[in-house]
């Protein structure tokens, strides 16, 4: 039960934090079409977060709902992976982050549609289609930028390289993951790691890019040990509920 709560928070926090980051682009994207698609992805992700965090709150049974979990936990209690909390950087960095993450999330949700735990299976069934689109969209941008101009190629390489050290965390296994896989609720991402790597490799090949050199993995997000960026994000995201604790909106 603790493991399931933890697992739901991880799923919800990943979507919540990445949704927040994408929302930061609003009005600042390279073209209106891109503004639209970034807002659209953000919306999908916030929707997923709402479902997962509401489910976590219901399971916990202490009267916390998704809003309470989203807006009233501090950094040590957030369970998202480090990748999603990284700042947007330039558009190539944003797309590198999205490409690494959505490819993983798509494979994950595809497995989770078969979760023995109905709330997860239900959300995954709907979200897997959304995320399939995020995956395609970000992969297309990786190809366009990688095989575009000299400048876009350099930026895409830099973006992929900058984000790469946060990818191994996506495949980290620990007590929570093991317990969830064991129970048929979740999945050990190790089972789709080779699918992931060949999917990433295929897109990079189409983008005429090499895989970034291996780097020492940076871990910790799943245990609340984040990068310095998450705290700043939470300052913004939680401002209103923190400032007006008695209000509803």
């Amino acid at each position: 039960r603790d493991a399931l709560f933890d697992y739901l928070c991880r799923l919800g926090d990943d979507s919540l934090i990445l949704g927040h980051r994408l929302g930061e682009w609003c009005g600042h994207a390279p073209a209106v079409e891109v503004d639209l698609s970034l807002a659209n992805m953000a919306l999908d992700l916030v929707g997923q977060a709402t479902h997962f965090l509401n489910a976590a709150g219901a399971l916990e049974g202490k009267g916390r709902d998704g809003d309470a979990l989203a807006f009233r936990r501090d950094v040590l209690d957030f369970r998202n992976c480090l990748l999603v909390e990284q700042p947007n950087g330039d558009f190539a960095q944003t797309m590198a982050r999205q490409f690494y993450f959505s490819t993983w999330q798509h494979l994950l949700f595809d497995h989770l549609t078969r979760s023995s735990y109905a709330p997860i299976a239900d959300v995954a069934a709907k979200a897997v289609k959304e995320v399939a689109y995020h995956r395609v969209l970000s992969a297309e941008w990786v190809v366009r930028l990688g095989d575009g101009t000299h400048e876009s190629r350099a930026r895409m390489i830099a973006g992929l390289d900058w984000m790469a050290r946060f990818v191994p965390e996506l495949f980290e296994s620990d007590g929570t993951v093991a317990a969830m896989a064991e129970a048929g609720i979740g999945v050990d991402p190790a089972v789709f790691r080779s699918d992931y790597e060949s999917a990433i490799g295929a897109v990079l090949a189409e983008a005429t890019l090499d895989a970034p050199p291996a780097q020492r993995p940076i871990l910790g997000g799943r245990r609340g040990h984040h990068s310095e960026h998450l705290g700043h994000l939470l300052c913004v995201m939680q401002f209103l509920p923190r400032t007006y604790p008695d209000a509803t909106w």
Partner: protein, 310 residues
Amino acid sequence: PAKLAAFEARVAADEFIEPKDWMPEAYRRTLTRQISQHAHSEIVGMLPEGNWIGRAPSLRRKAILLAKVQDEAGHGLYLYSAAETLGTSRREMIEALHSGKAKYSTIFNYPTLTWADIGAIGWLVDGAAIMNQVPLQRTSYGPYARAMVRVCKEESFHQRQGYEIMMHLAAGTDDQKRMAQDALNRWWWPSLMMFGPPDADSPNTAQSMRWRIKRDTNDDLRQKFVDITVPQAEAIGLTVPDRDLAWNDAKGGYDFGAVDWEEFYAVVRGEGPVAKERMKARRDAWEQNAWVREAAAAHAEKRARKAEAA
């Protein structure tokens, strides 16, 4: 002149003019200006709302706001496309915006200071926009009229959501009530300005109405807006910041105070409170991301060449 007469007859008969039809240059120019200005407003209008996406106070409000800005980007797209059918490229329109030649709604030159401003924008700004736009569903230029049908449907949804935010705040804690009233105080007059200068100072109105680019005068729309909005404010216990506001039985509408037209013209000239910030944000988005658009074009060209070669 024969063409002109035929054109004017079609317009008078409420027929749609389509892109390939002959049209007077002034009609084309006026429409291009009006539609592109409308498109720019959608895009610039994402900035004051984008300012609060990260701070939306609940997951539901965050989702609603994201859906709203997504709609606005969509409106921008239809409208740019409609304007392009008149022969000006999107790039030209955007460059005209960035050079200050093209305008956007004055309202987006005011800052969003509290969450209540998101409510006020939905309620008042989208409310005023709808008032302007509903008649345009029957405007004489086909692509514009069709774009307006979609836009209006979504805007009225936004307007209701904005009003709902205000209603919630006005029924909330003292702090929330204060935010709501303060937002109304700040957005009320700029909203009235959205209908443009008084008819007496609006020399192009007659021509635009004859061409059915416009279907009501500025003052008529403004009056209608006041008449609809004042009772909405009262219903949720907010006070419209106008001491001269009074019901006038004779005209069946409200009398209201004088709009500060000096302020309006200053904002039109680009001197609004956050005008520099808005234009800088748009210019930066365009210029600093030029490499993305160039890459997309270069890649598309490579693809096309490969397809040809195959």
